[in-house]
Structure formats: C-alpha cells, structure tokens
C-alpha cells in the first residue's frame, strides 16, 4: 500500500487528458489525490471520470475559507470506484471561487444530481453561489437568517472567538506598555 502506483496511474491519466487545465495535482496519502482546477473545469473532470472509470459517487462537498482568504469548494469524488477486491481512489477536487463577495462556482448538479443537497448546505454555510443549481434555497439555517452572513467563513466570529480576540488585543496592549 505504501507504493502509490495505482494513484500515480490515475494522476498520469488525468494529466495527459487535461494538461494545463490542472493547476496542481499531487498524491500525499494512499488512495487520495489532491487536485485543483479552475471554475467550470471540474465538470469536465467528472465527465471524464464517469466515462473512463465509470465513477458515480460524489462523496461530499467541503468548503474552506483558506488562509489566503480564498473561498474554495472541495468536491470529494470517488474517481475510481471500488471494483472486486480493489479499493477505491478518492479525488479531492478543489475549485476556487473568483472572489469573496460574489463567490460563484458552476453547479455540478447537471452532471451529478446527487450533489444537490451538498451544494445547498455549502451555499447556506459558506456562501458559495452555485450557478445553474435548480433550487438554491436555505437548507440548514433558518429562513429569516440574514443573506450576507455565512457562519463558516473566518470573518464570522463566535462569542468565544470574540472573547479570545479581545483578550489577545488586551495582552498585546499590555505588552506594548
């Protein structure tokens, strides 16, 4: 398991097919491939995987407010589905939103209908607007929650975080004195 041969094959196949479109691709852990693409290209990756490996399973969609201040969605996709005694290989496909204020990413629902609720959840909590999503309503937050507040972004602070920040500022002020 320590040799990443199968993973490398998948990486090679992706590289040869997409070339420059893959902004980065690497495999650190066994059975995991981390990859970054630009906005609409993730749909191409899904279509390619569906054709080549008969992939079907979108595991989840994560969303991260990265340390660089970029809102990113990460599609976790079983790029090589399990077959016989072979294990599955998972692709973590990161798609960055163009900017924070209007974070828009093309919805994957047209390729994978099962992505609907994952995208609604991500939209609710991280504020990523999925273009072409059939019904991008509130899923988890209450209906009367303010539109421009997204709890999972780093600029949304919990009470405890505010207290911590205040303490830190006080400590810094004391140190200055």
């Amino acid at each position: 398991m320590s040799d990443l041969k199968r993973e490398q094959q998948v990486v090679d196949a992706l590289k040869s097919h997409f070339g420059e479109k893959l902004l980065s691709i690497e495999t650190t852990f066994p059975r995991r491939i981390d990859c970054t693409v630009k906005d609409p290209d993730h749909l191409e990756v899904f279509k390619f995987a569906k054709e080549k490996w008969k992939a079907w399973h979108l595991i989840a969609i994560s969303s991260v407010d990265t340390p660089d201040g970029v809102i990113a969605a990460v599609y976790h996709f079983d790029i090589v589905p399990p077959h016989g005694t072979e294990t599955a290989i998972t692709l973590n496909l990161r798609v960055d939103a163009p900017n924070r204020e209007k974070a828009e990413i093309t919805s994957a629902v047209s390729v994978i209908p099962g992505a609907q609720f994952f995208e609604r959840e991500t939209h609710d909590l991280m504020g990523i607007y999925f273009k072409g999503h059939p019904q991008l309503d509130r899923l988890i937050l209450p209906d009367d929650f303010p539109d421009n507040v997204h709890p999972l972004r780093k600029d949304f602070l919990l009470e405890i975080q505010k207290e911590e920040a205040a303490k830190k500022a006080a400590r810094a002020a004391r140190a200055k004195k």
Binding site: F29, P81, I112, L139, D144, P151, L158
Partner: protein
Amino acid sequence: MAEKKIVKVDAPKTGCVACMPRTMEIPLGPQHPALKEPEHFLLEVEGEVIVNATPRIGYVHRGIEKLAETKTYSQNLTLVERVCGICSHIHSISLVNATETALGLEGFKPPERAEYIRTIVSELERIHSHILWFGVAAHEIGFDTLFMLSWRDRELTMDILEDISGNRVNYAINEVGGTRRDLSEKQIARMNKYMDITIKRLKRYTEICLKEDTIRLRTQGIGVLLPSTAKKLCAVGPTARASGLKIDIRYDDPYNAYAGPLRDIFNVITYDTNDVFSRVVVRLLEIIEACKYVKWLLANLPDGPVFIKPPRKVPEAHVLSRTEAPRGELIHYLWSNNTNKPYRLKITTPTLANILSVAEMLKGDYIADSTITLASIDPCFSCEDRIITIINKDRRKAKVDNLTMDQLRKYSREWHAKNKRWKK
C-alpha cells in the same frame, strides 16, 4: 368552515379535467411520534397517495463545525462524539484517523492493539445501532412486540459497551494516539458469550422477517430505490447496499483493523429487491456479520500498548477521512495548520447523502408508508444538521448561547408571564 382551511385545491395539471388533482398538504414533522429527531417533510397527498415530498432540515443545528475550529484536537474528540447520540464512536474514529494520518507525515503511528479496540467498539456500535433501527422500524409498522423484543436483545450489546468503556452512549474510548482503556480477559470472555447470544437471536429475527406476512405486506414493494437512481443520487451505506450497490467503506477504503487480515473474511452484504424489505434484510444480516467480526477481532487481538503519546502540534495537511458509520459513509475533512487546533473540520454524514434518495422514495407511496420509508434510511438528523445555534440577536432578544440553566429557567418564567394566553 374547517374544510376550507385544510384542503388546498391545485390548478388542474395536464390531462383530463375530470381527474383534476385535489391535493392536500400533510406535514410530517418537525414534531412527529415517528421521528426520533426533528425534521420536516411536507407531503403533498392525493387521497392516501403521496405525490411530492419536500424535505427541510436544520432543526438541530448546533454549530459544531465552527466550534471545532476553536478547540484543540483532544477537546474536539469530545465535541464530535456529541454530533450524534447513536453513532458517536464512528465520529471520533473519523477525527482520530484524520489527525493520525496527518501526524503520520512526521512518522507517528498508533499502536495496533488500539486500532483493534477501536474497530471492536465501532462494530459493537453498529450492532446496537442496527438493532435500534430494527426496533424502531418494527414500531413504525405497528409491530410493537418485535420492537420490545429486539430492544431487549440490544441491551446485551449496551451492557458490553458499558463494561468496556464505562458509558452507554458516548463511549469516549478514543484518544489521539490510541485508546483510553484496554480490554481484560474477563471482558473478552463476556463479549464472546454475548455475541453468540446476539447471533442466535438475530438469526431468529431474520427468519421471522423473511416469513411473517404482515411485515412483508408492509415492507415489500415500498420505498423503491432502483440501483440506477441510487447511483444518480449518490446513496450510501445500507440504503445503497439494499439497492444492490456493492459499496462499503470498510472494504473499499479500509481503515484501522479493516485494512489488516480482517479484509480477507470481510463480506459486503447486498440485497436486490430495492425496497424497505431489502433494507431490513441488509441490516439484519449486517448485524450478524458484525458479531462475527467482533469475535474474529477478539480472537486475533494483538498484544502491546494501547496508547503512544502523540506530538502536540499537527503538521499542515489536508486529510480526507472516510469511515463507514452504521448509516453509511461518514466524511471528516480536516485542514490542519501546524497548530494544536484544526483550521477547518468538515463533517458530512450519511443522512445528508441519503435524504435526496428518501424524497425520491416517498413519491408514489401511501401516507401510511411514509414513516417506514423515511425510517428505512435510518435517518439521523442531529448528525445531519450539526452546525448552528447562531442566535440572531435581533430576532430573539436573548443570548441563548451564553445562558446558564438558571438564567434559562428565569427567562422562560418571564416569557410565560408576559404571554398570558399560554397560561391556563
């Protein structure tokens, strides 16, 4: 008139005017005796047949993902166990696996015995969760005798869990770097004995389910999810396996002891009638398999320590940890940033993946079958919702998240004094 208030007449759809649909909206939840947790389904019914189902979740949103960013890894283990009351252990396994994988970049490896103990607890958890589900499903179709008897047998597993971890629900047996408790010979002997009894009882229940007429009447042909639809909607866990899809993370993406020789005897249970009956059978057979795995793991338990002290800080990594919870595939996606707290922890639970499937299954069913269909995916809404209690302070005047119990009581008294119509 009462009738006008409740009957909503829709505009005629395509086709003849004579069969103009007269639909009525029936809410299923958020409070409903059949649901263990709050969750809302708006069922649009024509007579007794459901034509559309709209799910709405989020009633038990507690802000766990956000909160996890403010806590250290070992504090987070306690936190993520509170995501769900039934499958608590699998959440802590997921986080521990993610953390240890990231620590693996610095050459850290947890002891093998600890991995086995984790796996044993997770299989025991699967057994008790599935039996719980079985009892609830029996109750949904009005078979209370089966409900009572199966929960009696569940107590055996609960006793084992209490014995080895000290708790019945949140076992708190995991720790980054191993487990908190070891198994003694006496405990192992007791577990073996209890597992034999459970296997015997479960074989009997499987027999009953395959033969009993009223169970078959209520479960066969209900809530059908075809394999192609299941694939399209990304169903996971027993729901997908009951539609004939052979997916099981324990086998497809092995972790802990499943990656070892246990993989050779591992058996992915599938059944192909695609309905509720199929899900019942899959879960019952899975319990029997889980009992066998527990017995195998106990027989092959390696010696050695159960805990190795890990480094305090977790190196920067993006780790995806996949585990098979009793309800299906559970995801913990961890971004660590070289500190002792996670930068971002994303949890996706099997129920969220399956909720789309259940909305699909409900269409065309009778109202009477809606609850068993909904229960057939073993929904766990507190798992699914996790994330808020962000109080919008304009909307509600009180800061509920900072209230102590006494303050809350005082607040409720004041509220009731103000709102007299609730008083008798």
